[in-house]
Amino acid sequence: MAKLLDVQSLTKKFGGLFAVYDLSFHVDEGESLGLIGPNGSGKTTTFNLIMKELKQDEGEIYFKGKEISKYPTHERVKMGISRTNQIPRPFSEMSVSKNIRVGIMPDELMRIISMNSQSDAERKIGKSVGFKEHALAMYPRELSMGDLRRLELARALATNPKLLLLDEVFAGLTVGEIAELTELLKEKKEEGLTFIIVSHDLRSLATLVDRVVVVSFGRLIAEGSFKEVIADEKVQEAYLGKQHSQI
């Protein structure tokens, strides 16, 4: 199994505080990794660093064996990494379809200009995340939270990623929506997509992930299968026992 993503000794400081400290982990091709930890433990920061939305102070990031620290965000996306945002941020003045279109657009001027509407590709992606035909013309302000999260996923999938970073995909969803989304992600996993999921909803996470990495205060405190990690004392302590009742 080849390592698709290999993060080594990642460190990021904000003012006097270490958001991420000496963090190392990897994800194999086809694997789904859970990234969990209490609030403020550095999970979103880690995603930001992988996507180059932030620059690390120290450490290296290897993707498909290549060190990618010098590449800007859009290059990393072209290499095959994509993410959803913790708080959905769709293009507010564009329909669902057009939102997806931006993700599909290739980074070549001539092709962008010759591309008018991509309705087939957009429809396909939209449907694959569960949008009905009529929903494609709707605007973000008309969508429910579940649909907004679907849109985030659709936009991330539109770039044809090998590695998908999912930041809190389940937050704010109804039980039904969570079940639908979980099914969808399982399908994608079967299709060969690799992903890292950040979620506070450990129950939903449990069924999706092969392995889990736990961070607290920016440091790695445990790694292993879901069962191993949950039983780990350090992990329980980090969560202050609050998450026990979830399992």
């Binding site: 965000t73 994509s82 564009m94 993700g103 092709r111 962008i112 770039t159």
Partner: protein
């Protein structure tokens, strides 16, 4: 799409026939409106679409104007050479000075362009007056055409071609990605697009159009001076035209330019200089606050309703 092409064709045809119905005085007003439309469109393709507000368009227009003015006046370069050279220099110079700011953030870009315009205004008055004509500028420049009618057709033809070109580009994927940059540039990067490249392209288009407009305008007036090129009031006029007309539409700036020009003409006998800017400013603020999509949205609503009426009548087999 078909409806739009039809509208363009009607517009083109009407404007071509205009000289048959109007006096030369009115034609000259139209000429000015056409040039203002060119400048407003050049502003829109960059600032309206990407949201990187440029306060430096007078700077770009001025480079073009001064380059062609100085080339024709001091070296006797023929117009068919000096004008393309002027456009070329505008694109090069504009990119050189503004790209560092364009790469960063919209706010920095706005500030840098403002600074450039202001400094150039003062600079052009004092640097090498023998070349630039100093405060008074240069006059007696060669004209492309004499007479209102040929100039009218020139200004309209250039404006129309530019309008169609920009309009077609913005209806393509380019318009989508540029407006996406305005809405959320970070997300566009996360969608795998190189926003610096896209912004640069929009900027070069903008500079190209501004350069063409600036060079041709200079050879229509036959003169150029810092006051009529690098002035805040000139910037203001272009901005208001684009805003009142409707940002991010290419058509809006044309409507805005015509509206503003004719408003100016109509009010000229009644309202002295400074009041005009006060009036424009207040109108602009009101439009911006209450009808941010500008005249274009009104225009669109109108044509939509007309289109629906025609369709309905066809369905019932009646003639309109």
């Amino acid at each position: 799409m078909k409806k739009s092409l039809l509208l363009w064709a009607i517009f083109g045809a009407l404007m071509c026939l205009l000289p048959l119905f109007t006096s030369t005085g009115t034609l000259r007003v139209f000429i000015f409106a056409n040039f203002l439309a060119i400048f407003a469109m050049s502003w829109d393709i960059l600032s309206g679409y990407t949201g990187y507000i440029s306060f430096g368009h007078p700077f770009l227009i001025g480079i073009a104007g001064y380059t062609t003015a100085m080339l024709t006046r001091h070296t006797g370069t023929p117009l068919f050479l000096s004008i393309p050279l002027a456009v070329f220099f505008t694109m090069i110079g504009g990119t050189l000075f503004f790209f560092p700011a364009l790469r960063t953030r919209g706010t920095y870009f706005a500030l840098v362009t403002l600074a450039f315009m202001e400094v150039t205004y003062h600079l052009m008055q004092v640097v090498e007056p023998s070349l630039t004509g100093g405060t008074r500028g240069l006059s007696g420049l060669p004209l492309l055409f004499t007479g209102a009618i040929p100039n009218y057709y020139l200004s309209f033809f250039v404006m129309f071609v530019i309008a169609l070109g920009l309009w077609a580009l913005t209806r393509s994927g380019l318009g989508t990605v540029l407006s996406a940059i305005r809405l959320d540039e970070e997300s566009v990067k996360s969608a795998g697009l190189n926003t610096s490249k896209l912004k640069l392209f929009a900027f070069m288009l903008s500079a190209l159009v501004a350069g063409i407009g600036g060079a041709l305008y200079t050879h229509y007036l036959g003169s150029i001076s810092p006051r009529n090129m690098f002035d805040i009031n000139f910037l203001f006029t272009i901005l208001i035209a684009a805003l009142i007309g409707g940002e991010q539409s290419i058509v809006g700036p044309i409507l805005g330019a015509y509206f503003l020009t004719f408003l100016l003409e109509y009010l000229r006998p009644y309202i002295p200089g400074a009041w005009r800017f006060l009036l424009y400013g207040v109108i602009a603020l009101l439009v911006y606050y209450y009808a941010p999509k500008g005249l274009y949205s009104i225009f669109q609503a109108g044509t939509n309703r007309l289109g629906k009426k025609i369709k309905r009548n066809e369905q019932y087999g009646q003639t309109t």
